[in-house]
Every structure is written in C-alpha cells, then in structure tokens.
Amino acid sequence: MSERVPTVVSVQGVYKSFDGKPVLRGVDLAVRRGETMVVLGGSGSGKSVLLKHLNGLLRPDRGEVRVLGCDVARLDEAALVSVRRRVSYIFQNSALFDSLSVGENVAFALREHERLDEAAIAARVGALLESVGLAGTERLFPAELSGGMRKRVALARGLALDPEVVLYDEPTAGLDPLTGAAITALIKGIADGRGATSLVVTHDLAVARELDGRVALLRDGVFAFLGTLAEAAEQDGPVGEFVRAGGVHARN
C-alpha cells in the first residue's frame, strides 16, 4: 500500500494494566486508510483490550491513541460520540440489546444520530439486513437467533452509519467453521465493497488467511511480529510456532 495513504489508526507506546497486572506494555501500531489488519494472539494476550482503546471504551494508563485524527485517549464521553459515529465496534458476543427486536437493534444508531422518518429507517434497516443475508428478520428478538445470525445482526447494526473504520472483536468465536467462513466473507465484502478500514482481532488463523492483509501478533503485551501471514510462518520461535500451529506453513 502506498506510503501516501494516510494513517487512520495510530497507537503509540500504550500501556494498560488491571489491578496492577500489566496487559499492554508499550504497544505501537499504525493502520492506513482502507487497510485490513488482523491482530493475532493467544487467549488473554490483550487483543480485545487493545481494540477497546480504539473507540474509547478503555483508556490507556499512558501512551497515545489517535483514530481518524482524534486523540481518543483524551476525549471525554461526550466528545467521543463524534468518533464513535465513524468507528464501528463489533463485539465478540454480538452484544445485541435483548429487549429490542432485530430491526430496532439495527435502527438504534440511525434513531440516535440521524433525523430520518420511520419509513426511511425501515428501508435502511431492511437493506442492511439484506446485505448480511437476514432479510425479513426485523421482528425477531435476539433470543430467537442462532450465534451466526446474532453476529450478522451485529454487523448490520455496526454498518448502519457507514463507518470509516470497523473494529471486529473475535468475529468467528463460538461459530462452526462454515458459519465462521461466511462471517469472514462478509467482513471481506465490507472491507472491499465499502472501503472501510478494518481491524480484526482474532485467534482464528483461518480468518487471517482469508482476509489476506497484514497481521500483527500480540504477545506478552507487545507486538512480537508485523507483516504478512506467510512471513510470520517463516519466523523462528513463538511467532512461527503460533502461526504454524494454526496450519499456516512457510513458503519454503
């Protein structure tokens, strides 16, 4: 990707600890506009913690987080709203609102931020649900959906405001391989079709292989590797072992 493409997500020297236990120990990361980056790492390596810093759900103990030119770590909740309208976060467990129907979940951000009449909202919701393969499910409630369907609704909800950056937290966790592959294909479609910058946190190497972007491997609170998946497989030590254990092999 050209050096002239602007960086939209920049993380510099981010430290974060919980109850005195360090999780991130000086993380640096830069993602360019339109890029799809996959953040790999084992369970508990701090991948989701890092992602939550990017839309202000968590604040670093020290370090800088800039997203779309905004100093996210230093904005208060009211000021973060303008960033969150442009940066969508897809939660690991979908985090759909249980008390709202599928249609109301997808319409939530539209009702919150845009002055549309009900007919326009219904049309927009219908189109979003159709784009994730769930046309006609507006009246269902989250409790009636399977894990894969919930994930699709979460995607539709996250895309309602046409975000410039989409953050995915373990998008295939808890899904069977076929459903996982379908969700990965949707993520690829969103990145290619809408041109959104995507940051995908996962431990699932099949996702990284399919998305075919740069990968960053988080280990012991810092990025131990940044490059392509094939390059990672050629590494000695824990980075290479992690990637090869997931079935990715070095080219030679």
Binding site: F91, L96, F97, E112, R157
Partner: protein, 257 residues
C-alpha cells in the same frame, strides 16, 4: 500490617463507591431536566415498576396500619385515651410509616430489578455496545428509571397512606367500637398539608436514592451471573440502609421547618 492494609483497602473502596454514587446522581439528575426526554421509556418504566408494585405497597400498608392501630389501642387504653387512636395512627402513617415502608419494600423489589437488568446488560457488553454506538447509558437507562421512581413512589406512598389508614380504621372499629365517620373526622381535623407534604417529599428523596444506587450497582456489575447476583444483593442492603439514614436526617430537617 495486613489488618491495617485490609482496613485501608475496605475504607478506600467504600469511599470510591460513595463517590461514584454521588457522581452518578449528579449526571442522572442533570439529564433528567435536559432534553431529549425519553417520555415513552419513563411511562414504560412507571408501568413496569410502579403499577406492578401497587398490590405489594397496599398489602403491606394495610397490615402495618392495622398492627399500628392494635399496638396504639393497647397503649392508649392504659391511659384512657383510646379516642386519640385516629390521630396517632394517621400521623404516624402519613409522616413516617407510609413513605418509609413503601420505600423499603418497593425499593427492594424495584431496586433489585434495576440492578439485575443493568447488571446483565453490563456483563453481556450491552452497556459497552450502547457507548460504542454513541449513546449515553445514563441518559438512556438511568434517568428514565429515576424519573419513573420519582413519579411512581410518591403515588404508591399515597396509596399506602390510604390503605394503612383504612387498616387502622378497621381495627379501631372492631377493637374500640369506634364509628368510621368519627375516626376519619378526628384524623382529618388533625392532619395538615405539612404532614402529607413531609411524607411525600421524603418519598421523592427515597426514589432518587433507590434509582441511583440500583443503577450504579448494575452498571458496575462484573463477572457473569455471579457478579450480577452479588450486585443485586448489595443493592437491596444498600437501599434499606440508605432509606433509613436519609429518613432520619429528613425527619429532623422537616421538624425544624
């Protein structure tokens, strides 16, 4: 040293907890009086919290009024002053027992419900989802519930006052052979607007305390079902203690007015 450290830790946690409740009270009250107002949500919450608590509030007040009348009659008979039963039962109910018992019972029921609901949303990341969609959880979830309590609790208190007095009147009829008309006449002659006001004003303060404490514990719940359970228990205990402590200071303040 370990004991000192633990005491320090416990005190610090309590102070932080109290600070958090005070800050949430400030933000919830600020959002209650600034637009946009979630009128539909407030109405829905009044229905779910208030209307469904009417039978609880009425039943408790009916029997509390009746028991109060029995005990008062027993005491007054010793001094030959049974005729004062209406004033004593009525004033005690309207000024004190109506608001406090309603707050304790309804507060326990409604407060536990709020904590369980918001706690479940918190542990399933729905609160984070709200924030990440650019919505304000205090405006969306806390303020409508506090509004519903501020409207609903005084109404339930009035219901409790009425049924409590009715229970007292039934006992006065059966135990002391007093006529209902005579009972009500004596009560209304002594009862002033100030008595009614002090009871209802108390219930407004109780409502804010119940709503904010319950919401605070819910929003801070962590660790799955176990965490939600602990938060709910904490809420019931905290509401009971807070209602009684606030009641003492408000009673003192209203008596000085």
């Amino acid at each position: 040293m370990l004991l000192v450290e633990r005491l320090y830790d416990l005190t610090w946690r309590r102070v932080r907890h109290l600070g958090g409740v005070v800050l949430l009270t400030r933000s919830a009250l600020a959002r209650m009086v600034t637009p946009p107002f979630a009128v539909g949500e407030v109405v829905r919450q009044i229905e779910s919290m208030g209307v469904r608590s009417t039978s609880l509030a009425a039943t408790i007040a009916l029997f509390s009024g009746a028991v109060l009348a029995l005990q008062t009659a027993f005491t007054l008979e010793r001094f030959g002053a049974e005729l004062f039963i209406a004033e004593m039962v009525g004033l005690a109910l309207v000024r004190e027992l109506g608001p406090v018992l309603t707050a304790l019972m309804v507060g326990g029921r409604v407060g536990a419900g709020i904590t369980a609901e918001l706690g479940t949303m918190s542990v399933s990341e729905q609160i984070d989802a709200l924030r990440s969609l650019g919505a304000d959880p205090v405006r969306k979830l806390v303020s409508p519930r506090v509004w519903a309590l501020v409207i609903g609790l005084p109404l339930l208190t009035m219901l409790a006052d009425t049924t409590g007095v009715f229970g007292g009147m039934l006992v006065a009829m059966w135990e002391l052979d007093l006529e209902p008309g005579f009972f009500m006449q004596r009560l209304l002659r002594r009862l002033e607007y100030g008595d009614l006001f002090s009871g209802l004003a108390k219930s407004v303060f109780f409502a804010v305390a119940i709503g904010v404490i319950a919401a605070y514990n819910g929003l801070r719940a962590r660790g799955g079902a176990d965490g939600v359970g602990r938060a709910t228990t904490d809420t019931v205990v905290a509401i009971a203690i807070t209602v009684l402590v606030i009641d003492f200071f408000l009673t003192k303040a209203f008596l000085l007015l």
